[in-house]
Structure formats: C-alpha cells, structure tokens
Symmetry: C2
Subunit: 357 residues, 2 copies
DNA sequence: TACCGCAGAGAAAGCCCTTTCCCGCAGGGA
DNA sequence: TCCCTGCGGGAAAGGGCTTTCTCTGCGGTA
C-alpha cells in the first residue's frame, strides 16, 4: 500500500503538506503544490490508512450500536432511525449483533470502546439478571467516565439516557381490545421470560384483563424464542392444552406470524374462530393475510430519538423519553365466536383452503 | 482513557511486558508480574486502543462487505452466510449499505480499503453503466494489487472471484411454469432496468415464453423499485392497462408481496383469478397468504461460498461458482382461469373477504 | 535602506501499541 | 573457576498519520 510519504516524495513536498492537501486543511497551500499532490494521489491510488488517521487525530467520531439482530425487522427499523440522524451529522455507525447473548453484549461494549466510538447505543430488551446488569452498568459507567455518551433503547436497567417504548401500556391496549371483543379464553405466546420486554408487555396485558374481571393464569402463557418459529411452536403447545382458546396475543409480530402459520395449518379461521394480536407493527404486518392487528411502536422514531440524545449536548441529568404505543386495528382480531369450536367448521368465510403449507 | 503505559506504570513493569500479558504473547512472563499487570488492567478498566493495535500489527484481519441494504431479507440471508464463515475463522465483518447508489459503493470501497480489510465482498446486482463499472474495476484492481482479495456475489462485471446465482435459469423456470399452467397474458413487475439482476431474470423469462411460442412485449413489463411498494405500484399500473392479465411475475419476493397487496385491494383472487410468482424465496414467502410460489435462490449458501473463496487459499485464476435456482411451488400460481375475468367472481375459493385492507 | 510581519513550507513531536533486539543473570557443563 | 546457554525483562524502533512549532523569504512600511 502506498503511504503518505510515498505521495509526498512523488510530489516533491513534505508529508505535512501532502496531508494538508488531502484533508483540505485550513492552512493554505499554493495551487502548484496542491496539484502535484493530487496528481501523486491519483497515480498511486493512494488511500489513507484509517487506523493511522484515527490514531493521530484522537478524534472520536463513530458511534457504536449494539442490537440483538439487525436483520430482525424490529431492529432494522430502529437502525434506520439511528442511521438517519448519524448520516446527517456525518457519523459512521458500527453495528454489532449480540444475538441476545449477554456475554457477547459485554464483549461488544469493550470492542466498541476500544474503537474509540464517541457514543454507544444499546437497543433491545434488558435481562432479568442481576449479575449481568451490574456488570454491564460497570462497563458503561467506565466508558462514560472517559467522556463517552450512552443511550439505551427499550431497557430500563441502565441509568443513562434512555428511549423507552411504552411496552406496558401496549400490553394493556391489547388486553382491553380483546376484552372489548368479548374474549375470555386468551392465550399468550410470549418471548423468553428473562427479557424485560416480555414481562413488561405481559404485565400490561394482565392488568387489562384483571380490570375486566378476567384472569391470565400461567397455564395460558407459553414462553419461546422471540421469532417466527418460536411463535408457531408456542401456539401449537397452547392449543394442544387449551383447544377452546378464542384469542392469542403474541408478544411480537414475528411470533404472531408464526402463530398464524400454525392456525392455518390446523384449519382454524382467523379471526372467525380465533383472534390474533401482534406487537410492534413491523412493516410486514400489513402484508400477511389477514392483515395483522397489532400494537404499534414508533420504531424508526425510537432510533431517531436515541441518536439525537447521544449526539446532542449533554444534559446535566440523564433523560428518559417514553414513546407511546398505539393499537392498530386490522383483520386478525374479531368478536368472540358465538358458538363453541364444535360448530366453527361452518363459520362464514372459513378458509381451510389456505392450509396447504 | 487509560493507556498501556498507565497500566505498565501502575504494575511497575515495562509497556512491553504489559502488552505481552494482555495479548497472551508466547513469550513467557513470570506469574508475579502477570498478576500485577492483570490487576492494573482491572483497576484502570483498561481497554486497548483498537486503532493503535491495528496500526502496530500491520495485520489484516477484518473483511469488508458492501451490500445494497442488510435489512432487506435478500441481503440479510446472504450476510448470515458470510457471518457464519467469518465467525468460524475469527474474522470481524465490516458491513456497509450502499442503498443501490453506485457512488456510495465506490466510496465504500475506498473506506474499507482504508480500514485495511483483508478482503472485500460486494453483494447485489451490478449496473448497466459502463463508466461506473470501469471505475469500480479500477478501484478493485488497485486493491487487489496490494494483496487484497475480492469476491462479488451476483454481479458479473468484475473479473475476480464470483458467486453467481443463476438468475437467468430462474427466470426461465418461472416462465416455463406459467406456460405449463396455460397462461398467455403474463405481466412482469420488474426491478430497475439498470440492474443486471433485472435484465438477467427477464432474459430467462423471455426465453421460456419464446420457446413456447408466446411473447413478452415491453408493454407488459413495468419497472419500479425492487421493494414492496415498487411491486404494489407496478402491479397497479400493469392492471390499469391490461386488466385481462392472468399471471404476474415479480422479479423478487418483496415486489411479489406488494403485488399481492394490490391484487387483494382490487378484490382479485390469487391464484383463482390471477397467478403470482416471486423470486428469491426469502423466509417470509411461506408466511404470506396464499404462500408464495417463487424461484428459490440458495442465499445463505451464496454468502458461505463467497466468504470461503475469499478467505481460502488464493487460486491462480479467479473462480466463478454458479449456484442453481429452483422453483418452489406453493399457492400463488394456479392454472389459467377457464373463463374470462367476467365470470371469475364465481371461482371456487374466491377470497374477496380478505380484501379488507 | 532597514526592519517588521506574515504567508507558505518543512521538521519533528506525538497518538498508542507491538515486536524485535539486546542485556543481565542464573545455572550447568567442562 | 570460567564460559556458554537460555530465560525473563526492558529499551527502542517502528506503524502511518496529524499538527504544532519553527524557519525562510518576501512584501510593505517607516
């Protein structure tokens, strides 16, 4: 690789001058020299060594992001928001997938710190795990002590800046909707119980049911991976035990899609025989059939806010922004069937024909 | 931030020794010193400066990846394959989204080169753009000249290692399937015409139709963005002009999903009144309703192959691996309706009821 | 004419590590 | 007892760039 001194030598100038030309320094350089440098750069196909640059200007510019998985639509949307603000400010993003592994999360904090990022953003659920939480907090505190800025999205265990979707109210909205439609036998397809997101959403849901004089026994909750297959599997387990369920709440949209797949395979018509509610309103939710009724979270906006917090002027006290959840009525939630499952085969618009998968 | 010499001073050793302890050097260090260093590291919360490390060991380890958009399922799958191999070999990936902007692609090549990546992988369609292609090739050649390795996925304009999905045959399979089902009035919802992926798939499709004595006039092709909304919009334009279409081929699954949305909104039953074919077989394809009939590409495997090529021993000549496309029959493609659209309303299993969106 | 000031260029001091090279010392063989 | 070997440790040389500081030479003013 050609180096700066190669360029300087070729142009017959000092490395200092070459550097100034290449970086558009404020220090003036005569046109003659400037052109010679530029010519040398082109001829040698010179590209500055980023590590050397980053080392020399002890300039923190990039921002580190830790998510569970960018290819999960939930995080893809959040990341879109993060990107938007970062790009506007000419910042590079370093994005790391923890795949919901706490240890990996810890490692990435160090990695990003080592890369001298100006700020760190952690997105995704927190864990019900004292030891881990303390460890993470220590690491974040150490980072902040050296001038780094930290924001978290959707996890309350850290004391810095935070953007919180209102998971609890979201769960509450889902519960109220279902009660309003007359459902009593409601099953829940939940994410891992160690995630705060799971328990928050569940808590809101439970509150709504309790207020309406209904119950949510543990026996009607199934915990599984927070993805499509987890949802499909949990739904199957739920139905095996409780065939008379008239509604299923999935704690995120991916699981809801899995739930729909299972229901379709079993020939249960949605929403005529059984209703389904999702959570998040990721883009695909409107394109499944029937279109998914779900609780919408302003995902892109969450990213925008978090990045703005972290790149904005440091406030004296850590700020917490709570973003509201909102129910989006589409086609998977309907009134509780009048009759029991026994007669459901004759329900109007039953769509056994779809269950070819 | 604490530096290595801070640690060394605190432990009462030289920076050299501290470095050896921290990096687990092969050079032996007595236990006494080792412990003192480790203690100092813990107390100071020391994290090595990655840039300094990378500069000092002129060690190329990371691999650069340029894709159109990781959050697009097509690239998410490919990236999954890339990651798998990279992780196995302890390599870090630097992933950049070009968002189908050629200039940004060029910039990222330089950026990654500057970051001293060991290899570069470009995934996604190439462009029908002579000037750009030449520029890109120059940059890649310059990079290769300094010992970098390059592989491309799904773009043939570069002469290095390549992994090519067989887009043309995929298009051919789609065309043959539709002909077999008796369709003659076939519309195409295509991606941007500047992309080689678009034209390759189109060419295969056209060949199949021609072989069967059918035609594919330009008037039955609509070019739009390669995403859901592009597909929805193109489908609408197509139907406005040609209401008697009995089949639509979308040139990727995202567009197919958009097409399904438009058809549903217009109350056209799939596949009873109109058939739809997708392309790629991304994971969501089986979860839309009706489940999408599509041309499967081994996306994860494409990533695996490309990374293996680039990290494997350098072959004397650039290698090209062509991966086969395969038709996956699900529920969106059916036989051409016997009657014209006028009587289609009485087709069995018509599902007007779904069009509530 | 003598001096001051400033523009434009270069020398050199870091930035923080890794790694080679070298040194001192202890132990073993002659 | 002397020399050689080898081990554990430190000194120092980069790695490629930025940036401060210094120097030269020119134009302008008194």
């Amino acid at each position: 690789m050609a180096t700066l001194s190669d360029v300087a030598r070729r142009a017959g100038v000092s490395p200092a001058t070459a550097s100034r030309v290449i970086n558009g320094s404020s220090k003036p350089v005569t046109d003659d020299l400037r052109e010679r440098v530029l010519a040398a750069v082109a001829e040698l196909q010179y590209v500055p060594n980023a590590h050397a640059q980053l080392l020399a200007r002890s300039h923190r510019s990039a921002v580190g992001v830790i998510v569970h998985d960018v290819s999960d639509p939930y995080f893809a949307e959040i990341t879109r928001g993060l990107q938007r603000v970062a790009t506007d400010q000419g910042r590079l993003l370093m994005i790391c997938n923890s795949y919901r592994d706490p240890d990996r999360e810890l490692e990435y904090v160090e990695l990003l710190r080592g890369h001298q990022v100006a700020a760190l953003i952690l997105a995704g659920s927190g864990y019900h795990d004292e030891a881990f939480t303390r460890q993470l907090n220590e690491k974040l505190a150490a980072y902040e002590a050296t001038g780094g800025r930290v924001a978290v999205i959707g996890r309350h265990e850290h004391s810095g800046d935070a953007v919180m979707p209102d998971n609890r109210t979201g769960g509450y909205l889902a519960g109220r909707e279902l009660c309003g439609l007359g459902h009593r036998a409601i099953g829940v397809v939940a994410g891992p119980r160690i995630l705060t997101t799971t328990t928050d959403r569940l808590a809101g849901l439970r509150q709504a049911l309790t207020e309406q004089g209904r119950e949510l026994p543990e026996s009607r909750i199934r915990y599984a991976e927070f993805d499509r297959d987890g949802g499909a599997e949990a739904t199957a387990r739920l139905l095996d035990v409780d065939p008379e369920l008239t509604a299923i709440v999935a704690l995120n949209d991916s699981m809801a899609i899995g739930a729909l797949a299972t229901l379709r395979a079993r020939g249960l018509a949605v929403p005529q025989q059984i209703s389904v509610l999702g959570f998040d309103d990721m883009p695909i939710a409107r394109d499944v059939t029937p279109a998914l009724t779900t609780v919408r979270l302003p995902l892109v906006d969450m990213g925008v806010r978090a990045m703005s917090l972290v790149l904005g002027v440091g406030a004296p006290t850590p700020r917490v922004e709570v973003l509201p959840a909102e129910l989006v009525r589409r086609d998977t939630a309907g009134p509780v069937p009048r009759s029991t499952r026994a007669t459901a085969g004759s329900a109007p618009r039953a769509r056994r024909g779809d269950s070819t998968s």
